[in-house]
């Protein structure tokens, strides 16, 4: 039974996504409880899967009974299981938030809306488990298609932002597919475990080098690595407020997870292409992303856009962590990735809630909050502490392990990059705090007296989440060290 849990985890949202249009014809009001129910069911299944993997080791699931190098394989190892636990928990909170009464009623569009959200969750689950480069491409594209449609749902400027996202995203996907084609032409296999055997002796060949480059540029566009991030700020700013938490916390993070998979499980941790260690290159890219993202966030006036740029800098921090080439750094990076999923969700919950509760879109308007509104300011403070990296929140421990890894690798530039990114993050949150707590110039009553229940749950869950991640960091990190390390690191 535990063998089938990864597939069950995938089929739960996919099955409902297929049935929902049929159910929705007659019973439109069922969409919401059904979607929440399925996501809630995914949480225990993902935990059961994690427990099963811990007990019986990595699960290799062969589709159609064809064994691995020939058939399509799903691999549920420690890292993938931890990712799906995060995915289902964050997904559940996100779907609770997006069905809040806070947002305008969708009418007949509610059915396709929930279908897209469920399809997005299903495809992200597929990406996490995929043990095959082409399978990863297919799920990458399904998730991207859902994301384009969800961004465009808001109408107006979001349509143009979504269109731009689509053009760039498809360009990235084509490059990724081309890279997969190069690797297949050179090695004759698409299975990641099989590639890990065949690529290292060939790593000097031009086809492998160019193929890997194409794949990383493609995934880089999907996860908005800094020079390739052009689509992200507009897409996340103009996306409907109810879906931007889900997009920001899950879509880019799972693309980053795909990057980690290919880098460590296919190429191997210490691959050197044309005398350049890949990890060094990734470290430089990560440091640039961390600094540029935080710097751009500092200069924004719109809240959602500021958080979107903040997300870019955190992607960079994760890359810095994994590029250090030792276990501490890798685990720090992965732990920071989990934290970042929770923090990004929390920040965009907050941004979406204040837009609809107070009509606040820019930092200037934040004075209307007047420091009151306990839920809003409380959640902001907790999540901001984690974003900046102050104990006892998860963000601190993520950065702590990344810095420990950097000390171990004697990579002092990485430490400097992490510290400067931290300072810049502190600076842009101080800008927010200044307006929320200090400035008492304008008094204005909120549009809605009561903070709706779903928003409270979402903000509360993410705030508690970052603190729990911080308090439990010791256990999580030692767990990751034991179960989620790539071979050869």
């Amino acid at each position: 039974m535990t063998r089938h849990l990864p597939v069950i985890l995938f089929l739960l949202p996919l099955g409902l996504a297929i049935c929902l249009p049929l159910i929705g014809i007659r019973r439109r009001e069922w969409c919401r409880p059904l979607a929440i129910g399925v996501l809630a069911a995914m949480v225990p299944v993902s935990f059961a899967n994690l427990a099963g993997v811990l007990q019986n080791g990595t699960i290799h699931y062969d589709f159609g009974g064809w064994a691995a190098p020939v058939g399509i394989e799903w691999v549920a190892d420690g890292l993938a299981s931890v990712m799906t636990v995060t995915l289902s928990l964050v997904g559940l909170v996100c779907i609770t938030f997006l069905s809040s009464v806070l947002f305008p009623y969708l009418g007949s569009r509610i059915v396709p809306f929930y279908t897209l959200v469920l399809l997005l969750i299903a495809s992200l689950t597929g990406m996490v488990f995929a043990g095959d480069l082409f399978n990863l491409f297919v799920f990458l594209e399904v998730s991207a298609l859902c994301a384009y449609a969800l961004v465009g749902l808001a109408g107006g400027k979001a349509l143009v932002a979504g269109f731009r996202y689509l053009i760039l995203g498809t360009f990235g996907a084509s490059l990724y597919l081309l890279g997969v084609g190069y690797l297949y032409a050179e090695t004759g296999t698409l299975n990641m475990a099989d590639l890990a055997q065949r690529v290292p002796p060939l790593v000097g060949s031009k086809a492998i080098a160019v193929g890997v480059l194409f794949m990383f540029i493609g995934l880089g566009i999907k996860m908005a690595l800094v020079p390739l991030h052009g689509w992200l700020p507009d897409a996340y700013t103009y996306a409907p407020d109810r879906v931007s938490p889900m997009l920001a916390s899950l879509v880019t993070k799972v693309a980053l997870y795909g990057w980690i998979r290919i880098m460590f499980w296919v190429l191997g941790a210490h691959a050197v292409v044309y005398q350049i260690p890949i990890l060094f290159l990734v470290g430089v890219l990560g440091a640039v992303a961390a600094l540029v993202g935080a710097f751009l966030a500092l200069s924004q006036t719109e809240i959602k856009r500021m958080f979107a740029y903040g997300g870019l800098s955190h992607i960079g921090l994760v890359l810095v962590g994994i590029s250090l080439g030792n276990q501490t750094g890798f685990v720090g990076g992965v732990f920071y990735l989990l934290n970042d999923a929770v923090m990004q969700a929390g920040l965009f919950f907050w941004a979406g809630a204040i837009i609809h509760l107070y009509g606040v879109r820019t930092i200037e308007d934040l004075v209307r909050l007047q420091g009151g509104a306990g839920w809003m300011s409380g959640a902001l403070v907790v999540i901001a502490l984690s974003m900046i990296g102050i104990p006892p929140t998860g963000g601190f421990f993520g950065k702590w392990y990344i810095i420990l890894g950097a000390v171990e690798a004697q990579n002092y530039l990485a430490i400097v990059a992490v510290l400067i990114a931290t300072l810049l993050t502190l600076a842009y949150f101080l800008k927010l705090f200044e307006k929320v707590f200090r400035d008492r110039s304008a008094q204005q009553p909120p549009l809605m007296r009561e903070v709706p229940l779903a928003v409270r749950i979402a903000l509360g869950a993410t705030s508690v989440g970052v603190i729990v991640l911080g308090v439990m960091s010791d256990h999580i990190v030692s767990f990751l060290l034991k179960n989620a390390l790539p071979p050869g690191l």
Binding site: V138, V160, F163, G181
Partner: protein
């Protein structure tokens, strides 16, 4: 230099792939009309599919289907089916992407009354 060009001319398919791919990107980057951008995008996707099919092409090969269980398997007599299967999936993905993109372009046209990117940006202000 001549050897390099000579080598290219012996592989016209790959040259065609590179030209199509770059042409697609060129159209995507330089045209302001959204539908023309989509044409460029589709051209680029198709060129990747063309590349995948090219890698599996083999002169004088046949479909990899065994007609009887006693037939002797000769791998060199068959074309590699896997890139074709990848191609099939990639075509489906491409069609789905094109569908979503045309829907978005249509919605943009209904909202802003134009498909010209500069005109749309002007009206967005």
């Amino acid at each position: 230099m001549f050897e390099l060009i000579g080598g290219w001319l012996q592989r016209p398919n790959y040259v065609a792939f590179v030209l199509l791919f770059l042409w697609g990107i060129y159209i995507m980057v330089t045209r302001y009309n959204l539908v023309k951008k989509l044409i460029g995008m589709y051209l680029m996707q198709t060129s990747v599919i063309f590349f995948l099919v090219t890698t599996s092409a083999k002169r004088g090969a046949t479909v990899p289907i065994l007609l009887s269980t006693t037939e002797i398997i000769q791998p060199e007599a068959y074309a590699n089916p896997l890139p074709h299967v990848l191609t099939l999936t990639a075509i489906v993905v491409g069609v789905a992407t094109l569908g979503v993109s045309l829907a978005l372009a249509d919605a943009i046209y209904k909202k802003y009354g134009s498909l010209d990117e500069e005109e749309i940006l002007k009206r967005m202000e």
